[in-house]
Symmetry: C2
Amino acid sequence: MNLAKFKVGLVQMSCETGLDENLHKALRLIGQAAQQGAEIVCLQELFRSQYFCQKQDTAAFDLAEPIPGPSTLALGEAARQHEVVVVGSLFERRDAGVYHNTAVVLDADGSLLGTYRKMHIPDDPLYFEKYYFTPGDQGYRCFDTRFGRIGVLVCWDQWYPEGARLTALQGAKLLVYPTAIGWHPAEKAQYGAAQHDAWRTIQRAHAIANGVYVAAVNRVGHEGPPAGGLEFWGGSFVSDPFGTILEEASHDREEIVVAECDLTHLETVRRNWPFLRDRRIDSYGPIVNRLIDPK
Amino acid sequence: MNLAKFKVGLVQMSCETGLDENLHKALRLIGQAAQQGAEIVCLQELFRSQYFCQKQDTAAFDLAEPIPGPSTLALGEAARQHEVVVVGSLFERRDAGVYHNTAVVLDADGSLLGTYRKMHIPDDPLYFEKYYFTPGDQGYRCFDTRFGRIGVLVCWDQWYPEGARLTALQGAKLLVYPTAIGWHPAEKAQYGAAQHDAWRTIQRAHAIANGVYVAAVNRVGHEGPPAGGLEFWGGSFVSDPFGTILEEASHDREEIVVAECDLTHLETVRRNWPFLRDRRIDSYGPIVNRLIDPK
């Protein structure tokens, strides 16, 4: 059996204070990723601005835009021009008072294939996302792009095996996670390595459990007050269906990561360790509980 | 907040051809683990015999026994004598033609707290388990032992995030996986390291996703024809709720691994990265599907 291959490219960048600067940088790097052979180019979470969720500020809602809107227009144009699929991540204004953290998928002809609205919303010191984003109401989604069927999830979704599973069950062969995760500088020395390793480990595990490629694309650089703020840890990577890291970026530089996804390899992995064959679908119903209280 | 601590001990051993030899070795090592401070002692999968599932043989059903039966009697006596909880793994004869791969939990007073019948059954070259074991029909279970609430799953269950989740949701703070996994000697050079790493990674991910301790206890040594057979890879380990390996055994020696589970640390991990808070239980229903076909 000889199945398709495609190359995924991850654009890991730092964000400036200007929205347009970030858009122009992203468009330039999409072109560069395409030149390096990428066919599916993925941008980090909320790439158009610095990570505004570090504080609660009504003025920050001005950063949001409709979808389709100016960003999808620009990304679609880049997709069409370079003949690549583009996965972007935007602050969506759906209606007055209804905002989402939304991924968009542009096909290689520039058309908007659809959106995924982040389902799991964090809320922790300097990550005040429940203030800005109402949780997604579309469920988990797949997109048939020119180069293959992919699924998109966003950042905090990374910690939920259910999200990966429900996307993979729809036939996605690559899960993409646009991300904005970093260290609290005061915690980095003690917990930084373990935090990064946990993040990397659970996503590699989604690849293993589901027999899919997984790509995480994260921002880099320090944002916020010099004495505090967040140091985004980069480390964008692509894992194969066995959890092997194919390519991985640094913690502190803007980089483009390009890796090949080979569906023949995916087929081989799933034949040799056929986890999807043996799922006990008769027994998983109670997973919809918050906790399961003793009888 | 100052919560309980307990020590878990994993008995990683090789198996001889004689059933009684293996029982006596296990009983001796339970005593040794207790001496080293273990309060919950876990044996590897099907510790009473060599791994008979390498071939299909009706005579091998003679190895099975009822539960309660001779093994639970002996393990209960050891538990009572050393005042430790014992997690064992047995080939259960439930009725003529109905056999299970069953974990047993003996409390520190020697009483049989209950059983868990392996839910996910593999079937691969040299692991012909679907021939021997009918899948469990009790679902996922927790046990309130003298030292804490624990869950038990068995080997192939390791690859299923749903099993770990459904056990953790019942309040287990430690998931124990008795295991018999090894390398095909002919594959070891090429795939061995990646196979072991995938196994270790997905179980660390269960710890991270659920904020629980995870312990895997595996057998060691070569069994079967010298030119083929299986080389069980040992590597028994305990992971903390952040996926950090606390203790880990070698690939080739009989060993006892002892590690402390600290529920104050578990509480801290869950407060800092509160994944259980944000589960989208309204969206997980479709996980009971084999696949989700496109609309």
